[in-house]
Assembly symmetry: C2
Homo-oligomer: 491 residues x 2
């Protein structure tokens, strides 16, 4: 296991990158801005997918699949959407290659130029609403509650593994409803699913709120989001749920005949989370010893390492280890027994520590004699010798404790790094010297928001839901404000 990695203190950004690379989560590919998600990283993503997919299905949603390509003209149908999405994107212009005349390789066949260019989907509202037009005739066809797991492409100049990549994986939900009220409720339902997933599975506390106009999804009436605080005091948007009003229904002429025989446009939502969550997960819990994973998303929850000198010792230990493995697996715990003879125990310890495996069990000859086992927690790095009897209960409890501990730690961190600022000087001081979430009054104008961003790089991350109204004055303009909003620098 490589030990040449940065600490958070030395270089936070390098620390993040080192963990992603050296814990085998992902790496850059030969294609600029596109990553390879390695098996260990992908296994975490699969666990995220499974948990979210279940929540979507339990609330009545179905998966479907829509084309990768979107005709260029589709973007122009919704005025705001085209501004937001039809810019930095991958454009397919031809559909054939041919052998080069000089015999060296292949070249684009100019005879195979598309009449209309195709855009690799940066998001699928347009192609989906073009389809919904065919599916929606009457109230009996509603609601449409559809999700898709897909790859999308947004051409990025500066990329970072998981956090900002040209191609990324995500899910995008697209729903159609009879009434505004129903669509608003859907937006809310999904926001809560995202928050619940972040907190229960990722062990990551999140704030829920409304985006300001300047941070709103292009084409939405309202964008709701969850935001989480990373260890460097910056906020990361971890999921968004958009109330689209009738914007896309109007752009793509999707009307339905109501029970009362009225023809009306349907109401819409869209919502998504992406492989960006992987970046949030890495940054939320990891430490200077490497990746730390919450048990609920760890591909390997428990690793068993045998300590031995002679082959007969390994044989004996293996019997015991496989017994324990079986007992744990019967409880739904994923276990790896690493009996490779190509690596030493010390190397294995470092490897699994760096890869964030929540619990490590080690068994040596003395343990075999004493009926004991060494248990090491990744979150606290504590080790203890336990009686091996009833180990499956103990492990189960420990995994629960680790999951809770990580959440509590992250929550404490957020609380320690959440501030109130009442003046511009206070605000500047916190943003520049402390970071974190800053609750402050804002006059509600885009002008002020952009001026603050210009001066401090901090933006309004969200307007909190259900927070108390409080009369105050905007920290920047001094104008009246009715509610504090949350500022932070952000990923």
């Amino acid at each position: 296991m490589a030990k040449d990695f940065s600490t958070r203190e030395e270089n936070y950004s390098q620390w993040y990158n080192d963990i992603v690379i050296k814990a085998d989560l992902a790496e850059n590919s030969a294609v600029r801005g596109c990553m390879v998600i390695k098996p260990y990283g992908y296994a975490i993503w699969e666990k995220m997918q499974a948990a979210l997919d279940k929540k979507f299905k339990d609330t009545g949603h179905s998966n479907a699949y829509f084309p990768l390509f979107i005709p260029k003209s589709f973007f122009s149908r919704e005025a705001d959407h085209v501004e937001g999405f039809a810019k930095e994107c991958a454009v397919v212009t031809h559909y054939r290659l041919k052998n080069a005349e000089d015999g060296k390789g292949v070249v684009v066949d100019e005879d195979a130029k598309l009449e209309e260019e195709l855009i690799i989907r940066p998001t699928s509202e347009t192609i989906i609403w073009d389809t919904y037009k065919k599916w929606v005739k009457s109230y009996r066809d509603l609601p449409l509650l559809i999700n898709q797991w897909a790859n999308v492409v947004r051409w990025e100049m500066r990329t970072r593994l998981f956090l900002r990549t040209t191609e990324f994986l995500w899910q995008e939900g697209h729903t159609a409803h009879e009434t505004k009220d129903e669509a608003v409720k859907e937006t809310d339902l999904i926001l809560n699913i995202y928050a619940d997933f972040a907190e229960k599975f990722m062990a990551l506390p999140v704030l829920r709120g409304l985006k300001t106009a300047s941070e709103r999804f292009a084409g939405a009436v309202d964008t709701f989001c969850i935001e989480a605080l990373m260890q460097d005091g910056k906020s990361l948007q971890a999921g968004t749920s958009h109330f689209l009003g009738q914007n896309f229904a109007k752009a793509f002429d999707v009307k339905y005949l109501s029970k009362e025989n009225n023809l009306d446009y349907v109401w819409a939502t869209s919502w998504g989370v992406s492989t960006r969550l992987m970046g949030a997960l890495v940054m939320a819990h990891s430490d200077d010893h490497g990746l730390v994973l919450p048990p609920k998303l760890a591909p390997i929850q428990v690793v068993i390492v045998p300590i031995y000198k002679k082959a007969e010792q390994l044989d004996e230990i293996s019997v015991k280890a496989n017994e324990i493995k079986k007992a744990l697996e019967a409880r739904g715990i994923s276990v790896k027994f690493d009996d490779r003879d190509t690596y030493k125990p010390g190397w294995k310890f470092a490897e699994y520590e760096f890869k964030g495996v929540p619990l490590r069990l080690a068994i040596g000859p003395r343990d075999m004699e004493n009926g004991t086992i060494e248990v090491a927690r990744r979150d606290t790095l504590e080790k203890e010798i336990l009686q091996v009897a009833d180990i499956e209960h103990k492990v189960e409890n420990l995994l629960e404790q680790i999951q809770e501990n990580l959440y509590r730690k992250a929550l404490n961190f957020r609380e320690d790094n959440t501030f109130r600022a009442d003046t511009w000087d206070e605000f500047i001081d916190i943003i520049e010297n402390k970071g974190g979430f800053v609750y402050a009054h804002w006059d509600g104008t885009t002008e002020t928001e952009l001026a603050i961003k210009e001066k401090t790089k901090a933006t309004v991350r969200l307007i909190p839901l259900d927070s108390e109204k409080e009369i105050g004055k905007c920290i920047f303009s001094g104008k009246a404000s009715e509610q504090r909003v949350v500022f932070a620098k952000a990923y």
Copy 2:
């Protein structure tokens, strides 16, 4: 439920299309050649994915994700591969759009031209082997057993839903091994997984065999395949497993240091099945009443339809229906209780029949009095009245019977449509008038194979594995042959 659909007799091709469209499996999108996979169709695909994914993981494979884009020059690295794949494909040439000068919509920004064009992956050997070069150093890094679930694009001029589409979904496995023997075993392991999946889940008997040189994967040493017979007597290739030798290792310079300290190229395989399997599934079992699904892949295995006139009757029936639903679900059976009041029972019967739901249960007021229930099988269209007591056992048994019956029917069909031809006249007669699989002698040359294809449209589907050697004469050239091969017209 639409009743205006074609029978197989009238128009087989239209019958297929009608089922795909009207059973809500898929439809054409606004992008030529690309389909929308609708929720009901996608739910079947998800079941296929889950079953295959489990088999891959149970045999030690992991999932990962590689980029959608492949630099154009990568294709030229392997001589055969470039001929096979770098032709009809989607080419990304630009990475930005801008507002049109006339203010109408967006146009390609010519300043944002890529230095090297990117190809949307038609298959991922090249980008993956470029990555494996970084991953493989020593024997300790081997084997690499990796699979990816992804979308791929092959530009097609004539497309058919599921069977041939420009974009399709698939899995592609890519493995690297120390020895030739290990790679050959992997190719074989996967072929058997595919065959087992086709037979046990899809209820579709398949032949296993080796492709001839002209049908081999571009870049492979050997391509193995499974082939299934459709109801129109044409064969459908349902999965391929390629032994790639050291071709890609050499093209991308992937060497490993062996235990004995020798540096050598690794050995490779690749293998895949795609949404084409959906087309095979539709054609294998469906009839003139619509789709027929094997229970193991049916999103809804059992539908319960209430028959009632008054609201109180529905209330009573609902209690019973939900009780049955719960008992069935406890056994892992997926059940829909369709209590919508917006459709009549007759409409629902037709709907679920067309959609291939394996079992339909109907409960009316008289059933409530008598403790009975009407059970209708989709495969045989038989109805019977059963005592409702212990219905979960009866349903479970019926589902197993349906699964077996579909397989047996398909196997009988294949046996009835498998022939031997010893002369050219016999061969022509069978291919033109009967269709099906024809076992015949072939001289082993590409020349003869292409001549036969030219004259009859039939190709060698495969050289059977483990079939008896038999001395004979090629039906076309009269030259010596040692084994019969399987000819058929194919999708």
